[in-house]
Subunit: 243 residues, 2 copies
C-alpha cells in the first residue's frame, strides 16, 4: 500500500477482537487515513467473510495482516506501544487525552516503530496488556455515553495522528487570483461614487456606509474576477440611472 | 440528552442519506462525542429498523431527530453551516482541512448556532447544497483510498470539534504523590553508596553511571511510593552484601 513514510512506521494492533466485522471496519478506517500495518492478536474469528465485507475497499489490508498468538509477539519490534483505554484513573499509569499525547507519538513515528493497541470490544485491554504499553491514551468522550465502537476508535486515533503529522494536506492550491490593493480601492471608489448618485447616505454620518462596506469585504476577501463583476454591476446601475 | 452548552449549539445535518443503518451509526458517533441535535433532510428510509439497530445506545437521538424536506429548512435557524466535502478544488469555494477550520467553528459554536452538513453516501453534497454553506471542510485522507463511511466522517468531525473545545477532559487527576527534590536526592545518594559497595564503576569515568541513572529517572519521573520501593530494594541488597 502507498503510505507516507512516517505512517508506515505505525502498526495498529487489535487484541482479542470478538467480532470479525469490527476487524474489517477497523482495516477500512486505517486505510482511509493512510496506515497500512495491521496486526491481530488472538482474534476470535479470522479470516472471516464478515471481516472482508466490512473492509470494503480495504480487503488488501486483511490479506497482509499478521496474526499473533500473544501481544508480546505483535510488539516485539516496536519502540513505543500506545495502549488505548476508556478506563479512567484506576490504571497503572494515567492515560493522556489522545490530542495531548499526539505530538509525542508523532515524534516517535518519525524515528521509531510505534504500535497503537486496541483491546477487546467489551472488556478493552487487560491490565496485563496495558502494562506492556509505554503510553496510555484515551479518546475523550461523552461521560454519559462513551461507547465508541472499535472501528470508530481506530478511525479517530488514525485521524488524530495523520492530522498532527500534517499528512494528506491538499496540494498547494490553484488559488483564485486575489485582488490587489489597487483593485480593491478602485472598487470602493466606484462604489462610493455610484451610491453617491442615488442620494443614499446617512445624513448624520455620510462615511458610515463605506466603513461598513469596507469591513464586510475585508472579511470576505475579494478575487479579481469578483471585483470585475461588482464593478460591472455598478456600471449597469449607473447607466440605468443616467437614463 | 446531557450535552455541554457549546456542543448543544451544533446540529448535525445528514442530507439525502441512502442507507438507514448509516443514520443510526452517525447518531451513535455524535452521541459518543456529546452532540445531541440531529436533523435529516429527505432520508430515503426513516424511521427504519436498521437505523435503530446501528444506533445501539443512541436510539434516543433518532427519536428526537427532526426530519426536513429541504436543506433550507434544516438550516433556517443556523448562523453558520459547514459543508463536508471530499471533493477537491473544483468547489465553488475552497474547502479547509477540518483541523484548520476547527478553531473558527468552535468560536462560532460559543455564540451562534452551527450546522455540520454531510451529503449522500455516494454523491456527497450537491453544488446547490454546498452553496448554502458558509464554510467548506474536508477530512484529509489517503489519496489512494479516501472512502470514509458516513458515520466515520461524523465521528471524526465531532471528535475534532470536541477536542478543539477541550470538552470531556478527564477531571483534574487524583495524581499520584510525586517525589520531591529531597526524596530524589536521598534516593540517588543511597543508590550511589550501594553501588559503590559492589565495586561496580567505570574506572575511566566513575561519575558516568550516576549521570545515566539521573537521566533515566528524570525521564520517568518518580512517585514517593516508588522512591520508597527502590530504597527498600537497595537496603535489601546492602543487607545481603554485608553477610
Amino acid at each position: 500500500m502507498d503510505t507516507a513514510p512516517a505512517l508506515s512506521n505505525v502498526r495498529i494492533v487489535l487484541a482479542r477482537t470478538s467480532h470479525p466485522g469490527n476487524i474489517g471496519a477497523a482495516a477500512r478506517a486505517m486505510k482511509t487515513m493512510g496506515f497500512g500495518d495491521l496486526a491481530l492478536v488472538g482474534p476470535r474469528y479470522f479470516p472471516d467473510p464478515d471481516a472482508t465485507a466490512m473492509a470494503a475497499g480495504a480487503a488488501d489490508m486483511l490479506a497482509q495482516a499478521q496474526v499473533h498468538a500473544t501481544l508480546d509477539a505483535a510488539l516485539a519490534d516496536r519502540t513505543m506501544a500506545v495502549g488505548f483505554s476508556a478506563r479512567g484513573r484506576d490504571l497503572s499509569h494515567a492515560p493522556m487525552a489522545l490530542r495531548q499525547a499526539a505530538p509525542e507519538i508523532v515524534a516517535a513515528m518519525a524515528t521509531g516503530r510505534v504500535a497503537l493497541v486496541f483491546g477487546n470490544e467489551t472488556s478493552g485491554l487487560s491490565n496485563d496488556e496495558l502494562l506492556r504499553c509505554q503510553r496510555l491514551a484515551h479518546i475523550p468522550a461523552n461521560p454519559a455515553y462513551s461507547s465508541l465502537n472499535l472501528a470508530a476508535a481506530v478511525q479517530v486515533a488514525c485521524y488524530e495522528l495523520a492530522a498532527t503529522s500534517g499528512m494528506h494536506a491538499l496540494p498547494a492550491s490553484g488559488a483564485p487570483d486575489a485582488a490587489t490593493g489597487e483593485d480593491i480601492e478602485g472598487f470602493f471608489a466606484h462604489l462610493e461614487s455610484a451610491v453617491h448618485q442615488t442620494g443614499f447616505a446617512d445624513p448624520q454620518n455620510p462615511g458610515r456606509f463605506m466603513e461598513r462596506m469596507r469591513r464586510l469585504f475585508a472579511r470576505s476577501g475579494l478575487e479579481r474576477a469578483e471585483v470585475k463583476l461588482l464593478r460591472g454591476m455598478l456600471g449597469a446601475f449607473e447607466k440605468k440611472m443616467r437614463r
